[in-house]
Every structure is written in structure tokens, then in C-alpha cells.
């Protein structure tokens, strides 16, 4: 078996993977086993060379997340009652309000967390899932970077749900002003959870396999 150096790590290089060596690796602890072993000897986790059903689950959760994202934007996220007058605001409505108040920074955070990140995530996960089937232009390291970003940043979208929870708990001044959560909070939380599950089901080893295959 040829040994490669870091210096020539280039596009055309073939690396010896556990699969190519006829072995199965545990993604939890790195231990390597003979093919056909079911449970990891080190951590007890379930072994699979490549998660065969992973793409189906990725797409299923992704569509569930996409569907839940629609009512999240149509229905009110916050219901504010000031001296008996009730006003409902949606996600985008809340951002516009913040901008009108001049809080550009917070408006940017909320807009990023509840609009840019979710939509960016839908597109990125779909792109990564497609990249395992059809050749795409982004190289292996780029694909992995995308995957890492999606895994890292996805959970931060939940911030909007927490903001609603804190505001509803805090702003309860009897008749003067009360803030209550709207139904969109539920669908938004579901959308974030579904997309997190979608991203978790991506088997990054499939991304690298596909990148190798694109190459040849």
C-alpha cells in the first residue's frame, strides 16, 4: 500500500479509506473493524460502512422542514397587546419593526437567524445531497466546509423561538402591555428541528466518495 504525504494532497490523489480496505469504521470513536461487524467494540455504536438510507432521510426531513417553514412565515410569531389593542407580527414584520426603531444590529441578527440561515440551509443541504448523485463544481474540501457550516449554524435558528419565549415571560404588565407567543413559533421550531435532523442524516463520507468519483 502506497503511503502519501500531506504535501502532495491534491485532486488526483487516491486515499486509502476504510471501505476500500474492506473495513468498517465507527463514526463515533474512530475504531476500525472487519467488514460485517455490527457493533463497535470500543463504544458500542452501530457500524455501517456507508449509511445507505441516509439520503432518503435527508430529503424527507428537508421537505418536512420546508413545509413547516411556510406557516412559520405566514402566521404571527408575537401577539402584543398594548392598552387592550392587539397587534400581531410575523417574523419579517418583527424585523421591519426593529428597523423602524433604529435597532439595525438586532434586526440584522433576527433577520439572519430566521430568514437567511433557514433558507440558506435548505439550499445547502439540497446541494450536498445532489452532489452525491451528480457531479458538481465545488471541490471536496469546499463541500466539507459547507457541511460543517450547516451542521454548526443550523441550531442557532432556534434563537427566534427563545426570544419569543423570553419576551412572553417577561413582558406581562397587566393592562399596559403583554406579549404572547403566536402559533408561528411552533411551526418555526418544528422547521428548525426538522432541518437539523436532515443535516444530521448527511453521511459526510458519501460526500467524499462522490468527490472522488467526480474526479475519475
Amino acid at each position: 500500500m502506497q503511503v502519501h504525504d500531506m504535501e502532495n494532497a491534491g485532486r488526483t490523489q487516491t486515499f486509502l479509506t476504510a471501505r476500500r480496505a474492506g473495513l468498517v469504521a465507527c463514526r463515533g470513536c474512530g475504531a476500525v473493524h472487519a467488514k460485517g461487524v455490527g457493533a463497535c467494540r470500543r463504544c458500542g455504536g452501530t457500524l455501517s460502512s456507508r449509511d445507505a438510507g441516509s439520503l432518503q432521510r435527508v430529503w424527507a426531513w428537508l421537505f418536512a422542514g420546508l413545509i413547516a417553514y411556510v406557516p412559520a412565515n405566514l402566521y404571527p410569531m408575537l401577539v402584543t397587546t398594548t392598552f387592550g389593542k392587539t397587534r400581531e407580527s410575523t417574523i419579517v414584520g418583527g424585523v421591519i419593526e426593529l428597523v423602524e426603531h433604529g435597532s439595525w444590529g438586532v434586526a440584522a441578527i433576527v433577520f439572519a437567524a430566521s430568514v437567511v440561515i433557514p433558507i440558506g440551509k435548505f439550499i445547502t443541504i439540497a446541494y450536498l445531497a445532489l452532489s452525491t448523485r451528480i457531479p458538481v463544481t465545488i471541490r471536496g474540501h469546499g463541500r466539507q466546509r459547507l457541511y460543517e457550516i450547516v451542521e454548526f449554524i443550523g441550531r442557532w435558528s432556534m434563537i427566534d423561538v427563545f426570544v419569543v419565549a423570553i419576551l412572553s415571560a417577561l413582558v406581562q404588565l397587566n393592562f399596559v402591555v403583554t406579549v404572547n407567543p403566536g402559533i408561528a413559533a411552533v411551526s418555526f421550531a418544528l422547521s428548525v428541528a426538522f432541518t437539523m435532523l436532515s443535516a444530521q442524516n448527511v453521511d459526510p463520507r458519501l460526500l467524499w466518495d462522490a468527490y472522488e468519483a467526480d474526479d475519475t
Binding site: M1, L16, G28
Partner: protein
Amino acid sequence: MTSDLRTEAVPDAGMGLVACPVCDVLHRDAELAVGARARCRRCGTLLFAPRRSAMTQIVMLAATASVLMVAAVFFPFLELQAGGLSRQSSVFDAVMAFSKGMMLPLSVAVGALIVVLPFARLCAIAYALAPMVFGWAPPAHAAPAMRWAEAMRPWAMAEIFITGVAVALVKVAGLAKVTAGPAFWAFAALVLVTVLKDNLMCKFTIWKTLEERRPS
């Protein structure tokens, strides 16, 4: 030097090898010096980063964080004052914000994400690793506890909650005076300690240690 791990020969059972969890490339599992870091040759994923007395530090930090969590849940979190009216709320109130009507499941989910899961993770890690600090064998079910703690990592969202608090504070800042209670600082400290602990935790090293100390 990072590439001390190299593939030379492939023994049948995969003993003495370690595979990158992201791209499946095989590496030889060599003893690393304390403080050294081993990264995957292809994708650069950090494989091993052993540290001196990491176990002790992890267990101490997990214990600290769980004490802080108890304080964070029961002490007053934030106080809102406006026009002679005031409202105190705890983290528990934020969890219960969605408890009216059909949004109750969201209350359960928020409670799980910001209190129950972070706390249960800390307990699982402390349980599995505390005996290791004294050089004892790992306790029964240490492996499932560690696997569970790893699987729940993306769902423990205490740090996202505290950022949500910051956003919510800016939103109400124009409306009323908000004061942070002891629980707020406990929660902020908890987030810092948890981040510190998660950065110290080298997954692969912990699994190897657990395996070596397991009574056979």
C-alpha cells in the same frame, strides 16, 4: 507535526487503525504526545488532541456547570420595570411561556432544549468519566451514557438561549428598564463553562481511554 498517523499495513481486524469520521481515510493509531494534535490527512478533521489531566478538568467543569444550572433555573432571571409596574421572571417562566392551549408541546421542547438536555448531558459525562479521574474502571453503562451525551450535543441549546436573552433585552430596552438577576449571571457562567468543557473533550481519546480501562 501533525501527521504522525500513517497507513502502512492493514491488519485484518482493523486493530491499531483509526478512521476519519468525516471522510473514512485510514490512519495508523500511534501514541501521541500530550498537547499534540493529529488531523486527518485528507480533510483535516481533528482526530486526536490529548491533554494533560483532561479527564479531571472535564469532570470538574461538568460538575461546576450542573451546580450553576440549578441556580440558573431557580433564582430570578430578569426583572422588568415600567411605570411603577414590575415583573420578575425566571428561566422556568420562559419555558412556560408556551404552556397556554395548543402550544404546550413547544413548552416541553423549550424546557428540554435549554434546561433538561444540557443538564442531563453534564450528568452523563460526569457519571461516565468521574471514576476515570481516580484511575478506576469505567462504571457500568459508561459507553451508552457517553454515546447519548454525544448524540444530544446539537440539541443542548443553553448558549443559544442566552444569546436570545440578549436579543430580547434589546427589543424591550426602549420600552422598560430591565435588570439581570443572579440566575442570569449563573446561566451566562454555565454557558462559558460548558463551551470550555466541550473544547477540552477529545472524543477519540476519551473512547480509547474508556476501552483501555474497561475490565475484561
